[in-house]
Symmetry: C2
């Protein structure tokens, strides 16, 4: 592939000049500029991004660390990043996380190697300390779905506890008092926060949540199915299921239906996330909207800004609130 030097020679100018027209650099003769441009076109020249990154000691790709592109939730996240990246004419370098300390470390290492100036990191395993240090090293790093007080302005996160509270309050308002909770057994904080929120609402309404009415499992459809099955085996008594996420909720509904329980007539179910599937499944799932795509876009904007040295106006904070999306899986009793 043609290099800058070849263009320069062909145009009878110096590399410096070519570089200038490439970057809309200052003051290049109109004629020269045109000539160079046409040659560039003609030779089908493309600046070498690597060389450029080297010289600038900054890459134009925004780095992304996420666990799994297949999960609709992460896909939405990636999409949010991609949308903004495209607007800014940069690409995204995805470094597969997959939950787990080592994976995340490696993923971040890769991004560091590439000298991404902006990065959007979804990390659940890394300890706060390491992330704080990373934040110091990389001005353009922002965390998504995690809050660390020391680097508050680098965090774009959701108020999970409020979410838990919301879903419980909603069920209570619908007349439910016998709740079951199916949560995730992943070793991260989100489940805890959500349950804390649920307990909060329950306490306020003076409702008890028996230990047997709580089940944990992998946060996917199978986990939801298994959880409901366990609940039934234990003879748990409930009219409403609060799920950790939509996938579990869908699994729960499937299992309930398979066992002859009508949803929502006999049992109400509420999810969390509002991924695509919530609209598709039957009955349509009532759930909590997790504006992950919007959040991801925001995070990317921030990362890009910070990387450019534009710092947050103050100790601004980026906490998002989940909201209820009413569909057909909850019924008033």
């Amino acid at each position: 592939m043609a290099t800058m030097k070849e263009i320069a020679d062909a145009a009878g100018v110096s590399q410096a000049t070519v570089s200038r027209v490439l970057n809309d650099g200052p003051k290049v003769g109109r004629a020269t500029r045109e000539r160079v441009k046409s040659i560039i076109k003609e030779l089908n020249y493309r600046p070498n991004a690597n060389a450029r990154a080297l010289a600038n000691s900054r890459s134009d790709a925004v780095g992304v660390v996420i666990a799994d592109l297949y999960e609709p939730f992460f896909a939405a996240l990636a999409h949010g990043v991609e949308t903004v990246a495209r607007k800014h004419d940069t690409q995204i370098l995805i470094s597969g996380g997959s939950i787990g300390l080592e994976h995340e470390q490696k993923a971040i290492g890769t991004l560091l190697s590439h000298r991404c100036d902006a990065m959007v990191v979804h990390s659940k395993s890394l300890p706060d300390g390491q992330l704080i240090e990373l934040a110091r090293e990389v001005p353009g790093m922002v965390l998504i779905n995690r809050f660390i007080p020391e680097i508050a302005s680098r965090c774009v996160w959701l108020d999970n506890q409020a979410g838990g509270r919301l879903m419980a309050e909603y069920m209570i308002r619908q007349g439910h008092t016998k709740l079951a909770v199916i949560s995730s057994d992943f070793p991260i904080d989100d489940p805890l926060h959500r349950i804390a929120g649920i307990q909060e609402a329950l306490a306020a309404a003076n409702i008890d949540l028996p230990e047997v009415n709580i089940e944990y499992g992998p946060p996917n459809q199978e986990g939801g199915e298994a959880a409901v099955q366990n609940l039934m085996s234990k003879g748990a008594d409930f009219t409403a299921v609060l799920a950790y996420n939509d996938a579990m909720a869908a699994g729960a509904m499937a299992m309930l239906l398979d066992h002859g329980f009508d949803v929502p007539r006999e049992v109400s179910v509420i999810g969390y996330d509002d991924i695509l599937l919530a609209k598709y499944c039957r009955p349509k799932l009532t759930t909590l909207r997790y504006p992950i795509e919007m959040m991801a876009s925001k995070a990317t904007e921030l990362a890009l800004q910070y990387a450019q040295g534009i710092l947050p106006s103050e100790d601004t904070t980026y906490k998002y609130q989940p909201t209820i999306v009413k569909r057909d899986s909850v019924r008033k009793i």
Copy 2:
């Protein structure tokens, strides 16, 4: 961030030596190697990927061109690529396509700038010629979901016509003779191929498909809903719907159910792709499995191999076949 020179100085050796231990280069004194390694660890050094790419004139990231990370289908594709990439310790550089000639051109341009030696391209808008040329320039380029005879060994694709035939044959075997087809109005070949397959099966069974029983729309849920609505408005007579993809099928089912038609008792529906949603929706969708993730993995393996100069054993071809996944949305009549 520390550079190689700093490491070299700190270890009292030359850069060349450091470079050698980094790349497990030939013959470095055992003692030296250990010393350098420890210093590297100590200074938390990371080789600069950009510099390395420059020197090698090859990047270690596999480039990916896809339209939209949000679509579950593409998410699965991306996931397939990512899985293989990770195994090979490389990252993926995603360049947003979004269907459309210009977007795709730009996306590819970006990848070229980065000198990705391996790339997996999903392009529906670019003309054959351009892709063929690209294949010449970039040995490690492979096309996914598209077949171009001139570069057959670079194509990993699905037999869409066979898919169309399969779905129609299946419905016919279930006793259906009054079929409706809802297809995509995107200007790409896939819909045509699938319909061709359907017609083929119909012809073989001597069944007629009235023009009014075919509807086109955007290949998503809304498109599916609208299509069914149009079908009903036109008073089309059918007991089975063959959808372009699962999203349309889901939309169709939703609309059918909303209008009081029991699926599959009164109307059977079959989808295409077998994305996650097919399992989640109710009734569970009978559909055609599009092994996109497997195909994406294969494409990535190929791209990586070709990039390394390992050429296909012959004029091998990578045509995949869709298969029927029976669930609950089709009924024998």
